[in-house]
């Protein structure tokens, strides 16, 4: 126990006293996320044609370790196709209570249709509200179900609680504010 060591300790704490706190005041300030964060899924579209990338192959459902994904394919109408292939996903549902956000669905997808996004504020009240359907997952939708509900009630735009240095290219077409 030397006096020098004690003085050094005082110096270190004083330096910290005048540094910026590491605390993120979360609901007031956004959480900085890494670009590869595994958040709520996004079903992407081909940016040029606007057609869905998903071809309804169910490989994501097969890869899913938590059995959270349900896909029901249907034949595309050749005149007015939904996706580029022969088939498309008529029903595409992810149960967010079952999902473990491992990203295996994204790994398995042959067309890069299902991609992990950044949204993480998924807490809700009813079981049924955790089942995200196609309209909740497609790129045009911003915000989780409770977030969009709250925004609708308050008549304000959806407030996302995160920020990323850049949106990774797999999430093409997603518009995070």
């Amino acid at each position: 126990m030397s006096v020098m060591a004690l003085a050094k300790a005082l110096g270190i704490t004083l330096r910290h006293f005048f540094s910026k706190p590491v605390t993120i005041p979360y609901p007031d300030a956004p959480v900085p996320l890494k670009p590869r964060f595994h958040g709520r899924h996004v079903l992407t579209r081909h940016p040029d044609t606007g057609l869905e990338k998903c071809i309804g192959c169910s490989l994501c459902a097969a890869a899913c370790p938590a059995y959270a994904i349900y896909v029901e394919p249907a034949e595309n109408d050749p005149e007015n196709p939904v996706s580029i292939g022969e088939r498309y996903a008529k029903v595409y549902e992810i149960n967010m209570l079952r999902c473990i956000f491992c990203g295996n669905c994204e790994e398995a997808c042959p067309t890069g249709a299902i991609v992990m996004g950044y949204e993480f504020e998924l807490a809700d009240y009813r079981y049924a509200d955790f089942v995200y359907t196609k309209k909740d997952l497609l790129v045009d939708t911003v915000g989780s179900k409770p977030q969009r509900r709250e925004a609708k009630e308050k008549k304000k735009p959806v407030k996302l609680g995160f920020e990323v240095p850049y949106v990774r290219p797999e999430l093409e077409g997603v518009k995070y504010e």
Binding site: L6, L10, F17, K20, P21, V22, T23
Partner: protein
């Protein structure tokens, strides 16, 4: 006579209110300050900058269930927090905050009074430890008493050179002396250091915060106290910090005297010096470890007390040989 009594009563009331207000906000300063030392934000949700946090804490503490241990000695169990609280408050009465009338009691034996009050506050700790009827408070109380008594000796010994040089026990006159001759921190640096270290134990702050070595003793002597009785102990503990800091500022840093020839404003300069020590204690709290109990006792009896005695003899020799005159 009646008029003088009334004036004193009003002064005392103002002082008590000021001290309780200081206590409420010292909890805020403590939590925010420690948080900043640990690179956190601290409580900031209640009111702007968390300034209403003390009120929220008070409401919460009052509405807690008041539990008494079945084996507790009821009377002493009640008396202990009352004693601790009262004597912690009483100690400030003789500390002058400004020239002449700016003190509640201008006692000729002011230094002795402060010591008497802080010694009596130890009874609160002792009785709480004894009356709780539980083993952790008993051990915590024993430790606290041993530590407080040990450090009280060094504290008293470190104050004697100051009293010798000033030639008075009156705190107001000690301040006047410093106003004329310069602050005691210059003449009595060793005494100041000993006094400050012993004060840390007296305030039960790091590195001598044994009363609440929570890893070993849960919460020390007030383990079995809850609700308002716990608050009384908490207030007493922080008041020791407040009063102790004010006392160091008065004894060694010239009290209410304006430094560097600045304009003299009552309260303000004592407040500035007091705030300095409050911060210093907080800083040490955030930086250092807690010493082991036996190390602490050995340090008190083996280092501080002899050092204080030697310095006292040196000062006594100097004063006898002619001193400042």
């Amino acid at each position: 006579m009646i008029g003088a009594l009334f004036v004193t009563a009003v002064k005392a009331l103002v002082l008590i209110l000021a001290l309780l207000f200081a206590f409420a906000y010292i909890t805020w300063i403590m939590r925010r300050g420690l948080a900043r030392f640990q690179v956190r934000l601290g409580p900031n949700r209640v009111g702007p900058f968390g300034l209403l946090q003390p009120i929220a804490d008070a409401v919460k503490a009052i509405f807690k269930e008041d539990i008494t241990v079945a084996q507790a000695d009821r009377l002493l169990y009640w008396l202990a927090p009352l004693l601790a609280f009262t004597f912690a408050l009483a100690a400030f009465a003789v500390i002058p905050v400004g020239p002449d009338g700016w003190v509640v009691a201008n006692l000729d034996m002011g230094v002795l009074y402060v010591f008497a009050a802080s010694e009596l506050a130890i009874y609160g700790v002792f009785l709480a430890g004894w009356a709780s009827g539980s083993k952790y408070p008993l051990m915590g109380g024993l430790r606290s008493i041993a530590a407080l008594v040990g450090y009280e000796l060094a504290l008293g010994m470190a104050i004697l050179p100051v009293v010798l040089m000033a030639g008075t026990l009156n705190l107001q006159e000690i301040v006047e002396w410093q106003k004329q001759h310069g602050y005691f921190i210059v003449y009595q640096l060793p005494a100041f250091l000993i006094y400050f270290i012993a004060s840390l134990a007296e305030m039960s702050r790091t590195p001598f915060d044994f009363a609440e070595a929570e890893q070993e003793l849960v919460a020390g002597f007030h383990t079995e106290y809850s609700s308002t009785k716990f608050v009384a102990f908490y207030i007493a503990e922080l008041l020791h910090w407040i009063v102790g800091s004010a006392l160091i500022a008065t004894l060694f840093l010239g009290g209410w005297d304006a430094p560097f020839g600045l304009p003299e404003i009552p309260v303000l300069w004592l407040f500035v010096k007091w705030a300095l020590f409050i911060f210093l204690v907080l800083w040490i709290w955030a930086s250092w470890f807690r010493t082991r109990y036996d190390q602490m006792i050995r340090f008190a009896w083996g280092v501080l007390l002899p050092a204080a005695t030697v310095w006292f003899l040196i000062t006594a020799y100097y004063v006898v040989k002619g001193g400042m005159a």
